[in-house]
């Protein structure tokens, strides 16, 4: 029993550290450290730097241009990425539709789509949820009817993150309504957002940010060659993708970075006040979250160790999403509490690069409540935490 890295893994860790030190653009680093969001151009610039380095397809097999990294290497990478406070890669292309295409897609689809996904030349978004289909995803109603050599798609998708920038959308659509189980008759389809009949309506979230959208399809013609895999098997493909999404959203490395930063931050005086580190109640809350996070870190490592040695991950892996998001949200609240009154000013403009007025608060304090509000989504997306518990109750506890 040991938790040390092998010599080869230590060399890799050095390489990753050097990359983030030398290649991560300084202007992005400064923006991120000041609590500013990156605009889409920054995001693409960063992802293309990763592509140049050969690190775009972290989970992809080597034959499709991926890294072929071991689980431990991926863990090391995620840790260094978080420590650099570098942005996460937008997952819809590289982490979601890419793996579905190389696993279930045709040779032609692989050649057509994978290179551009890997190179971040095409922006993808996700069309799963519908206004009437949230946790009960299998009730989805968007229809795709085969007419000659194309499908005609009609319906509405919602919560489509960053869909306003997207070139393409991958969707679960109903191609057959005459089925015994609702999970049958659902297909996985790729749709060009420029197709006639596609419209995008913004949804503003509680923090005032345009992050998600409702996407309407009105008799949109989609060529049959955009169907991925077999017709009616979309539910199976979609589940593979969701499992992937769930593992990624534990966010252990990010949470560790944010807690460490907060521990340092509270040692200093803000506006002449006594350092928050003297507040016993606050420090107890902080310490309690640190304990939970340390436990989750080792839960994740246990999963990695199992997978690395060729075993299936055990029940410990199933709790990563629920616990991971609970911890993220607890940390968000700690930042709000640390900011005190200065969690209140609603001044989103000051986190824009062109802001020239008087800055309010210190060290992105006023961003804390907006982040807290925004990340209430974490326990809702990717299958709400209650749905996760249903799944664990059924598949792990056998209830």
């Amino acid at each position: 029993m040991h938790v040390t890295f092998s010599p080869g893994e230590l060399v890799f860790q050095e390489e990753v550290r050097a990359f983030f030190r030398d290649e991560y653009p300084e202007d992005m680093r400064q923006k991120r450290d000041k609590g500013m969001e990156l605009d889409p151009d920054d995001q693409i610039r960063w992802q293309q730097l990763l592509y140049k380095k050969g690190w775009a397809g972290i989970n992809w097999p080597v034959e499709y241009g991926g890294t072929g990294w071991t689980p431990v290497q991926k863990y090391i990478y995620a840790t260094e990425e978080a420590n650099a406070n570098a942005p996460l890669v937008i997952p819809f292309g590289l982490s979601m539709v890419g793996p579905v295409i190389y696993t279930f897609g045709s040779e032609e689809q692989k050649q057509r789509f994978l290179p551009d996904i890997l190179a971040s030349k095409v922006w993808w978004c996700q069309g799963y949820s519908e206004p009437g289909s949230g946790s009960d995803l299998a009730s989805l109603k968007t229809r795709a009817d085969l007419v000659g050599d194309h499908f005609v798609v009609s319906g509405t998708k919602t919560w489509t993150t960053l869909g306003q920038h997207a070139d393409w959308i991958f969707c679960l659509v109903r191609t057959n309504t005459d089925v015994a189980r609702r999970q049958e008759g659902i297909s996985f389809m790729l749709i060009d957002m420029k197709s006639p009949g596609v419209s995008v309506k913004p949804i503003i979230l509680l923090d005032g940010v345009h992050e998600v959208n409702e996407i309407h399809f009105e008799n949109v013609e989609v060529p049959v060659e955009n169907l991925v895999g077999e017709e009616g098997k979309g539910w199976t493909y979609g589940k593979v993708l969701l499992q992937h999404e769930r593992a990624n959203i534990a966010g252990v490395a990010r949470s560790r970075y944010r807690l460490r930063r907060l521990r340092n931050q509270v040692k200093s005086s803000v506006r002449g006040a006594a350092p928050l580190s003297g507040d016993k109640n606050f420090m107890r809350r902080l310490a309690a979250v640190e304990v939970e996070l340390k436990a989750l870190e080792y839960t994740e490592l246990r999963t990695l160790a199992a997978v690395s040695s060729g075993k299936a991950p055990g029940p410990e892996s199933s709790i990563l999403k629920v616990k991971g998001t609970e911890i993220q949200q607890a940390i968000d609240m700690l930042y709000v509490q640390a900011a005190g009154y200065y969690a209140l000013p609603y001044v989103p403009d000051q986190y824009r690069p062109d802001f020239a007025d008087q800055y309010i608060g210190e060290e992105a304090e006023t961003q804390s409540s907006l982040r807290y509000f925004n990340y209430r989504k974490a326990s809702i997306y990717g299958g709400s935490n209650e749905i996760q518990k249903n799944i664990i109750a059924k598949h792990v506890l056998g209830l």
Binding site: M1, E290, V291, T299, L301, K389, L397
Partner: protein, 374 residues
């Protein structure tokens, strides 16, 4: 990175599991707990014959050269079996002091007997006024010629009523709560002036209040250096804290498993109660606590075994988790068993009581959270 047990640990785990499955059913445990001594002398003999009593001692001392990880492997399984035998008092506490600061002669005199199972020993680690501060020692030891004379009171001496040897920390200099000025004494329980008031504890185990009234021992009884006992005491209590946390995690896993099993078999309103979502989610929470506690236990134990700067944080972290979400898990197990959960007959209640006792030992959750918050 590797969380698997090595070959030796695998064997150790396997032999303990077999022993519990074949020879330590719950009703036997209850019989041993209710017996005169509070444990089975035969079972303790088996512990010694199988070498379990030698695990954390060096080969030079005649031991197995094990470390905290090996003890964790054992204690977690002892927890699952809810064993009442005095492994903590003899091996982790008294043995922990002797192996650290005992001279060759003292080890020969005491440790050999502990390992062979012929001698019962314990450590008087706390005093009535000390709460969780192990440095708070009012018991005094005064030099008198070649002897030392001890006076004072010790509380909750595990297995004090059946111990042949009690290791007594006493103040030889300094203020009452100073870390320096503590000296450790090996005191035979039958020494004149030792008054031992033994009792049952709520978890089915035994302890005693000890009064020392002009207890006279020779200078050979001093373990380690005069005034320098704190380090060994502190390290030993850290080991003991990890050990009972491993025991607690074993107990938590049993409680979770028994609860899930019960919910599949117990029918109400014509269906198994495990089909109710309100209960399913609570059992998922119990699973989550078990997995988190297992993970943290592994980290904490490996960290202490490797002796890093984080060792103290590691001990406090796992004890805090056991004392908070672990304790809640125990309450949930009782709750989900309904009326049966609050009966003496059902094993669940006894696992729960031991878990509750562990929460109070060697610093409760608040005590350790304050250390982590500092």
């Amino acid at each position: 990175m590797d969380f698997s047990l090595n070959e030796v640990q695998e064997m150790l785990a396997d032999s303990i599991e077999k022993f519990i499955d074949n020879e330590y059913p719950f009703d036997a445990r209850q019989t041993y707990a209710a017996s005169e001594s509070g444990f089975s002398a035969d079972v303790w003999k088996t512990f010694a014959e199988l070498g379990w009593t030698t695990v954390p001692f060096s080969e030079d001392d005649g031991g197995f050269n094990g470390d905290q990880v090996d003890v964790m492997v054992m204690m977690q399984r002892f927890g699952r079996g809810l064993l009442v035998e005095p492994f903590l008092a003899n091996i982790v506490l008294a043995g922990g002091i002797l192996k650290r600061v005992g001279s060759a002669a003292q080890k020969q005199q005491w440790l050999q007997g502990i390992m062979s199972g012929e001698l019962q020993a314990t450590l008087a680690f706390t005093e009535p006024q000390a709460r969780y501060d192990i440095a708070n020692i009012a018991t005094t030891a005064t030099a008198d010629g070649a002897d030392w004379v001890l006076n004072g009171q010790k509380g909750l001496v595990f297995n004090g009523g059946t111990s042949d040897l009690i290791i007594v920390p006493a103040r030889t200099s300094g203020k009452q709560d100073a870390e320096s000025g503590i000296t450790l004494f090996a005191v035979p329980a039958d020494t004149a002036g030792m008054s031992i008031n033994a009792y049952h504890t709520v978890d089915g185990l035994r302890a005693a209040e000890l009064t020392l009234n002009d207890v006279r021992v020779s200078r050979d009884a001093v373990l380690g250096g005069k005034d320098e006992g704190f380090v060994a005491l502190d390290e030993t209590i850290d080991d003991a804290t990890l050990a009972i946390c491993a025991e607690a995690v074993g107990i938590m896993q049993v409680l979770k498993d028994k609860t899930v099993e019960y919910s599949k078999n117990r029918s109400q309103f014509g269906v198994p109660i495990g089909s109710f979502q309100a209960l399913q989610h609570r059992m998922v929470d119990m699973l989550t606590v078990c997995e988190q506690a297992q993970s943290l236990l592994l980290w904490a134990t490996m960290t202490v075994a490797e002796g890093g700067a984080e060792a103290k944080r590691a001990v406090s972290s796992i004890k805090y988790l056991v004392g908070t979400s672990g304790q809640t898990l125990g309450e949930e197990a009782v709750q989900l068993h309904g009326g049966m959960g609050v009966t003496w007959d059902l094993d669940v209640a006894h696992y729960f009581k031991r878990l509750t006792a562990i929460s109070q030992l060697f610093g409760n959750a608040d005590w350790h959270l304050d250390k982590l918050a500092a």
